[in-house]
């Protein structure tokens, strides 16, 4: 097998992982910075003055985490695992 096939696959996995990590990190620290620097916006009431923006964003972050994971698991199951399996089979034959 070409020596760099695994390297390419690995690089792709780290890229996908790093991208999704970046989304989580930016969303979370964006939230923290908003909370810390703009308390007014965070505390603004919406939905008929019943709930604050901060609480809605907080709940959204909690829902975002498993959604990002679901995206990754789907990618890994559909794309990454078969590619790794193909590599394993190739190596097994040699």
């Amino acid at each position: 097998m070409p020596p760099n096939e695994l390297d390419r696959l690995v690089a792709r996995r780290w890229r996908v992982g790093a991208t999704l990590t970046a989304v989580m990190v930016i969303a979370y620290f964006g939230f923290i910075l908003l909370v810390a620097f703009d308390k007014e916006t965070t505390g603004t009431l919406i939905a008929g003055d019943r709930v604050s923006i901060g609480i809605v964003l907080g709940a959204a972050l909690i829902i975002l985490a498993p959604i990002l994971i679901a995206i990754y698991v789907r990618w890994a199951n559909r794309t990454y695992d078969p590619a790794i399996q193909a590599l394993r089979d190739k190596r097994g034959k040699q």
Binding site: L6, D7, L9, V10, R13, W14, V16, G17, A18, L20, T21, M24, V25, Y28, F29, F31, I32, L33, V35, A36, F37, K39, T42, G43, L45, A47, G48, D49, R50, V51, S52, G54, I55, G58, A59, L61, I62, I63, A65, P66, L68, I69, A70, Y72, V73, A76, N77, D81, I84, L87, R88, R91
Partner: protein
Amino acid sequence: MSASSLGEPNAIAIACFIGFVAITLVITYWAARRTRTTGEFFAAGGNVSALQNGFALAGDYMSAASFLGIAGLVAKDGFDGLIYSIGFLVGWPLITFLIAEPLRNLGTFTFVDVVAFRLRQRPVRIAAAISTLAVVTFYLIAQMVGAGNLVHLMFGLDYTLAIIIVGSVMLLYVLFGGMIATTWVQIIKAGLLLLGATLLAIMVLAKFGFNPLTLFARVRDQYGAAQMAPGKMVADPIDAVSLGIALMLGTAGLPHILMRFYTVRDAKTARRSVAYATSLIGWFYLVTFVLGFGAAVLVGKKAIVGVDKGGNMAAPLLAEVLGGTPFLGFISAVAFATILAVVAGLTLSGAAALAHDLWGHVVREGKVREAEQMRVARVATVILAIVAIVLGLLFKGQNVAFMVGLAFAIAASANFPALLMSMTWRKFTTMGAMASMLTGTLTSLVLIVLSPTVWVDLFKNAEPIIKMKNPGIISVPLAFIVGIVVSLAKPERAAVDGFIAAQDRMHLGPR
């Protein structure tokens, strides 16, 4: 509201708790007969399914601090309490994307297996054992003291007796049933905790026409809009970011959590198990929002703080208001079971650091007989249980809430950077890993001791030496920088050469 029966012996609570202990001890007996090898003792023989491990991970992670503490914080301080629960969740995606799969493929019992894979074993194992034991010890102190206080508050039972009960039952689980028993204890506990919290939340929402917005509107009417806005906890933006770093990266560096990935068959199962775990934990935190705000409205802040200044009794009091003494009993028993399970998980990971990392790889240099390793593991378990009980008694009456933060800070600074660099960076060296881990541990410790939490609140000095309460923003980058600089300063040929083999195994799996 009528006077609470909290703190009086509660027949239902005692019955539920005895039931939980009885069932888990039967499981321990069953598990003990399946625990003969170190692979079974530390990793349940790798036979745990994705869903089971998802529940077990959630069980290990959802401590009484997150159930009682966060519900209480939300009831007392409103929005500020949410900041913690969000922080506790956002580390899980990072575990999925960066750590779970390579960890499963590369290691056997501890995360150190991964860091040390292509490096010189002894220095790396020693440094990592120090950070692991530091994390485990601080976390254990917080849990034990919490257990003593809780049981005293809820059942009126003596503090000392509570500590000894928790320590002894946990010892039975780990000593005889190893990881198999501990995993089942976590699964049952996570199931009960999610069930109890969800039932309670449904009862709260039933009072508000099943519309959370109506609940929030009541919070606004009763306490003003400020209850749903950031308060004093985020007074300092740098501190808020620093706390965020420690919570996020600390989750991804907790030894007892990382250890769980070795209990499943392969990397794919590890990946699926984090997905389950994150959904369960996320669900749980959404539920605690409802419990916290529900308690503020239905129990009242004054009544909650009247029972316990920290607000920790918000959820139990809410249970009593909504479901009477029997439901209070059930929730109290669940809280006690929660502590018991977390303590067991921590002890097992401490035992792995002592028996596998220190004895197996440092003292015996990797050449240790199976029977001897098992003996050492069991001795280590007994020692840790005794240490946990003694520390629990020693820290009686102290405010130890900061120790969970300290455990997270060390995990984030000492474990996460070394783990990440060892998996992704070819030029990472033995000395780099050692320096990074020791820097992370020491910086976190020193910064917290000099901070207001310890220097002022605990040591009673007038002024803190450092104003910052959370070390993460300094200690984590420093651990990365030290690791990189030391590695670049003195390259290690063998470590670079070993990277290809490590990468093969990290992605293709052990073969």
